[in-house]
């Protein structure tokens, strides 16, 4: 490793030095790196802008970067309007017409979700390689058809199962999401919130997609139901799938996430190991820290002020107006360190200060 002073300079050097001729001390590490499967999802420099009437732009997602490995659950947290749902829509190819994207979102097989055309997305990606657990299952389910008929149709589409095996396959699909067989012939409006959520989960699981994307899967559910829903999602991830859960519910994130990404004003401002984030040493980004401190079982103290509008982001760090650590350095946008896989986009991260004062 060279002692390059900045990440920007170090990066090309590393790429050039990489050719597989490496022997000696690094051989073991390299072998391990080769053996490790590619990430299920690799997001690089993902940005989404909306063109508005009058030529204005809304920067909904800026330069997002993260990897998601098989067996891993990443929770993307942030308040409403921070851009996290737009990021989810981008990954599903469901952005509206006036959206412009940049960067890449690569699946394990190299498919770029940002550039794939609608036909590819519809035929080979949605449901098959990316399963969606929707925000409001009631809206996602077709109101005029029973749960059984929706499961069977999805099975026909995604797995090619035909009658007479279809009926049994539908029941098996329901069972995977713990949806009771006795309710299969009901219509969505006849289901409780919890059962509708399970029906939607069962549908999302049918294609055996390696990536599950859950967009606010627990909004409006009771705590017990939240716990049950996220536990089930976690169980379905197992060792060979990955789960990206987008949520404003920090308790749900803490319950099942391996890693946490915090989004603020269109940017991922911190990525951290969940145990470090929720436990010791805690979040490093002042906003992430403020968000945790707002929880009723912590300080129950709001982050002062409100986030900036995505159409009028300030120069420099977007959190500066609310941040007690802000100084002149913060006039420059802080970047999330590319390596290691955790860090904070902040000029004065909190835990670093703690470590420094301890040292």
């Amino acid at each position: 490793m060279s002692g390059s002073p900045t990440g920007a300079e170090a990066e090309p050097a590393v790429t050039e030095a990489e050719p597989v001729t490496a022997v000696d001390a690094d051989a073991d590490a390299d072998a391990a790196a080769v053996a490790a499967p590619p990430p299920v999802l690799s997001v690089r420099g993902l940005s989404v802008r909306f063109r508005m009437r009058g030529g204005a732009h809304v920067a909904a997602v800026t330069d997002a970067r993260f990897d998601l490995a098989a067996g891993e659950c990443l929770a993307l947290v942030g308040e409403s309007g921070c851009g996290k749902s737009v990021l989810a829509s981008a990954l599903l190819g469901l952005l509206p017409e006036n959206a412009q994207t940049a960067g890449a979102a690569l699946l394990g097989d190299g498919t770029d979700l940002l550039t794939a055309d609608e036909r590819t997305l519809a035929r080979t990606v949605r449901g098959r390689r990316v399963g969606l657990v929707p925000q409001s299952p009631a809206a996602h389910l077709t109101p005029v058809r029973t749960v059984r008929s929706q499961l069977e149709e999805t099975l026909r589409e995604l797995t090619g199962v035909r009658r007479p095996a279809l009926r049994e396959a539908g029941e098996a699909a329901a069972e995977r999401a713990a949806f009771p067989a006795g309710h299969l012939d009901r219509y969505p409006h006849e289901l409780s919130g919890g059962l509708a959520q399970r029906a939607a989960t069962a549908l999302a699981l049918i294609g055996d997609a390696p990536l599950l994307l859950a967009d606010e899967p627990t909004t409006g559910l009771d705590r017990e139901l939240v716990d049950r829903t996220v536990d089930e999602l976690r169980r379905h991830v197992g060792d060979d799938r990955a789960l990206l859960m987008i949520t404003h519910d920090l308790a749900a994130a803490e319950r099942i996430a391996d890693r946490v990404a915090v989004m603020y004003a269109s940017r991922i401002v911190e990525i951290a190991d969940a145990a470090d984030f929720f436990g010791d040493p805690g979040p490093r980004h002042p906003y992430a820290r403020g968000l945790l401190d707002a929880l009723p079982d912590r300080e129950f103290r709001p982050v002062p002020g409100m986030p900036p509008e995505l159409s009028a982001l300030p120069e420099g760090c977007a959190f500066a107006a609310r941040c007690e650590r802000a100084d002149e350095a913060c006039a420059v946008v802080p970047v999330l360190p590319a390596e290691p896989s955790s860090g904070a986009a902040c000029h004065h991260p909190v835990a670093a200060a703690l470590e420094a004062s301890r040292a």
Partner: protein, 219 residues
């Protein structure tokens, strides 16, 4: 004192979701009512705020029995309550700006002249910036709209606040901000509070005492 006496209420007379429930909130007290969704606690909250007529039982407000429901409630009783619901989009007229939304109860009671001052004060209390006040509901986030709905609930300086899952859709920081705004208002006005919800951690932190729906209905 706000007394709910042996209330039975619901939307189907043969199968009321609220059966013989009694609950008292003392002057200036805050009571959290915990229960799973669909249990009937929201219906009880609507009855308590005089928004839904019970099949049986009585609501007594500071010693005076409720004398009507919804628009039939006498104005003095109706305006004793400020109510905030879970879904701000369902309770906010999409055609109004946030300023008009907050001022609506003042205009409805012929006190429109007070609106500019009250709206300015309340916007500060609930943390809404000036620039947001001229927008309409679809131009703001859920959290911002809920702040406006809370301001509207406070605009007539109610003696009683009823918050039905006020923060269920909101992130941790907005939740803490709204609860802080409610508590600041109560500290200032001495108003009592009935907060209905399913989040035990939240209600126990927020309220003087919490009761579980089961305890009310077992009796």
């Amino acid at each position: 004192m706000l007394e709910l006496r042996s209330l039975t209420a619901g939307y189907d007379r043969r199968d009321p979701v609220v059966r013989e429930v009694s609950l008292t909130v003392g002057p200036g007290e805050s009571v959290g009512l915990l229960g799973p969704s669909g249990c009937g606690k929201s219906t009880l909250a609507r009855v308590a705020a005089l928004l839904h007529r019970p099949d049986r039982g009585e609501v007594v407000i500071d010693g005076e029995p409720a004398r009507g429901w919804r628009h039939r409630a006498p104005r003095a009783q109706r305006t004793a309550f400020g109510v905030v619901f879970q879904q701000p989009r369902l309770s906010a007229d999409p055609r109004l700006t946030l300023t008009q939304l907050i001022a609506e109860p003042l205009r409805a009671t012929g006190r429109g002249a007070e609106a500019p001052d009250r709206v300015r004060d309340l916007a500060r209390t609930v943390g809404l910036g000036e620039d947001l006040l001229t927008r309409r509901p679809h131009e703001v986030s859920d959290g911002q709209l809920q702040r406006a709905c809370l301001a509207r609930a406070l605009v007539l300086r109610p003696r009683w606040l009823i918050c039905d899952e006020m923060t269920a859709m909101l992130d941790a920081s907005t939740t803490a901000a709204l609860v802080t705004a409610v508590e600041d208002y109560r500290a200032d006005s001495g108003a009592g509070l009935l907060a209905v919800g399913h989040d035990k951690v939240l209600l126990e932190r927020w309220c003087d005492r919490t009761v579980h729906w089961d305890e009310l209905t077992r009796a």
